[in-house]
């Protein structure tokens, strides 16, 4: 190398080429040494374990519908419910009674979390979920509107694999009806504070197909047997969700 510094007529380009060539020669020589002196070690390059962290903020947009503990799960490419298909029993339990225990425990979940308690109207909650599982790139969020028979809101099977660090994405969510319980709004059929009635009931007496909810009627708007009042009415959207990838 030293000799080259005196040859100022040689173009820089050539210098660089020669430099690279000499480096290559050196490293090849080093390799040869290794082969001669040591047993060959074959190292398969391992993928570094990647951790993905997300923060999820859920806002209750309704007037008087507390949201049952928010369930958030990450999983592979699947949907936990679909308009036109019957609800799973885990979803039925959540939609009729606000109990997400079975839903969280579903085998297809690769990561999951839940809020400690209900999310009152007009409030937000932020939850964190993390995973090292490379297949956990689909998001499901679900919660019951507790002053109803079987209304729930959420989104399911949303691909979040394209989120880059600190990128956020928001959705305004409509309200589904699990189709597993008639919307009688009757005394003892609604688990929320408006009634304090029975939540999950195994019998399915509605159309047994998930669809969008038609809203509650209430005793103030023509359903005389309803335990609900005008205050429990809601409209779409009912919930706002924002997800941010934090790692």
């Amino acid at each position: 190398m030293f000799t080259f510094t005196h040859q100022k007529k040689i173009s820089q380009k050539l210098t660089r080429q020669l430099f690279i060539t000499s480096l290559l020669t050196l490293s090849l020589a080093a390799c040869n040494d290794d082969y001669e002196n040591k047993a060959v070690e074959i190292i398969t390059p391992e993928e570094p374990i990647m951790e993905y962290n997300y923060s999820v903020t859920v806002t209750n947009l309704t007037y008087a519908q507390p949201l049952s503990p928010i369930a958030i799960t990450l999983h592979g490419d699947t949907k936990m419910w679909q308009v036109g298909l019957p609800a799973s029993i885990a979803l039925e339990k959540l939609a009729e009674g606000g109990d997400n225990t079975d839903f969280i425990a579903l085998e297809s979940n690769l990561a999951s979390t839940t809020s400690e308690g209900a999310v009152p109207p007009g409030t937000s909650i932020t939850l964190h979920i993390s995973t090292t599982e490379p297949m956990a790139t689909y998001l499901t969020i679900v919660t019951m509107l507790v002053n109803t028979n079987d209304a729930f809101s959420g989104l399911t099977g949303v691909d979040i694999s394209t989120l880059v660090l600190n990128q956020e994405k928001s959705w305004s969510l409509s309200v589904y009806d699990s189709g597993t319980e008639l919307n009688s709004e009757a005394v003892d059929t609604i688990p929320g504070p408006a009634d304090g009635g029975i939540g999950y009931e195994a019998t399915r007496n509605d159309i047994d197909l998930v669809g969008y909810h038609s809203g509650v009627v209430s005793q103030d708007d023509g359903l005389s047997s309803s335990v609900l009042t005008q205050a429990h009415r809601f409209d779409n959207p009912a919930v706002k969700v924002t997800i941010t990838r934090t790692k």
Binding site: V83, G84, S184, I207, G211, Y212, H213, V217
Partner: protein
């Protein structure tokens, strides 16, 4: 390094070639699924069309055409189909082969000609007097991909929402009740209103209904056949 100047003739020729290529690829293959999101409404035969930007099958704030009225009051899409055919639209009619039941989907393919850059859809919702689910001139994306559009329920503004059994003929009062719906719709309602003071196409205010299947003001069941928007989902895959 030798700079190569592009000949201006070559450049304009290649631009022309590009323009030709893009106009021929403008004809698009669409796979469309329409989903009735509701648990209590049926859709009458759905009409979907790719059409040019100068035509509309309906427009909020404007009077309904007689063809739109026939669809919204009685589910008859033949008039709209004629209008669209005369406008060189690409049309799909009745993909569900009849009523599209609550929560059900119907899928179909549509090839849109290059001039037909916009998509519209209409179907009457039952039970209603003149309610329909509609999509007005959604611009079809040029990029391949799957797109989701949520649709609202409109009121054609052509008939009073009395919410009682009656006729599906244009201009005649009452709601048509086809046999599959007969058991789910009440009787002897006295009528919610005989006024239709907004005669322009507008977002439907929803049905009132009542909780008496044998009497009351309405023949609509208020805990089953009301709705909130959106009432339908359209999934469009551009190939």
């Amino acid at each position: 390094m030798k700079a190569i100047k592009k000949s201006p003739i070559k450049t304009s020729l290649s631009l022309l070639a590009l323009a030709l290529a893009s106009s021929t690829t403008m004809a698009q293959e669409l796979s469309i699924t329409v989903t009735n999101l509701t648990q209590g409404l049926h859709f009458t035969p759905v009409i979907t069309a790719a059409h040019n930007n100068d035509n509309q099958i309906f427009m909020s704030g404007e009077m309904a055409t007689s063809e739109l009225q026939a669809m919204a009051e009685g589910g008859d899409i033949s008039g709209l189909a004629n209008l669209l055919t005369n406008a060189d639209a690409n049309i799909n009619e009745n993909p569900a082969m009849g009523l599209l039941a609550p929560t059900m989907s119907a899928s179909f393919s549509l090839t849109s000609d290059s001039a037909n850059t916009h998509l519209s859809l209409a179907a009457m919702v039952l039970p209603s007097n003149d309610g329909f689910v509609g999509l007005d001139s959604w611009e079809i994306p040029e990029d391949a991909g799957t797109y989701t559009v949520f649709l609202n329920a409109y009121d054609a503004g052509t008939e009073a929402n009395d919410e009682i059994r009656g006729s599906g003929a244009p201009g005649e009062a009452g709601m048509p009740v086809p046999p599959p719906l007969d058991a789910s719709i009440g009787m002897n309602g006295t009528g919610i209103t005989d006024m239709e003071s907004n005669d322009k196409v507008h977002i439907h205010r929803g049905s009132l209904g009542d909780d008496d299947m044998a009497a009351g003001k309405s023949d609509i069941n208020n805990s089953v056949q009301r709705w909130l928007n959106p009432v339908a989902k359209l999934t469009i895959t551009v190939q």
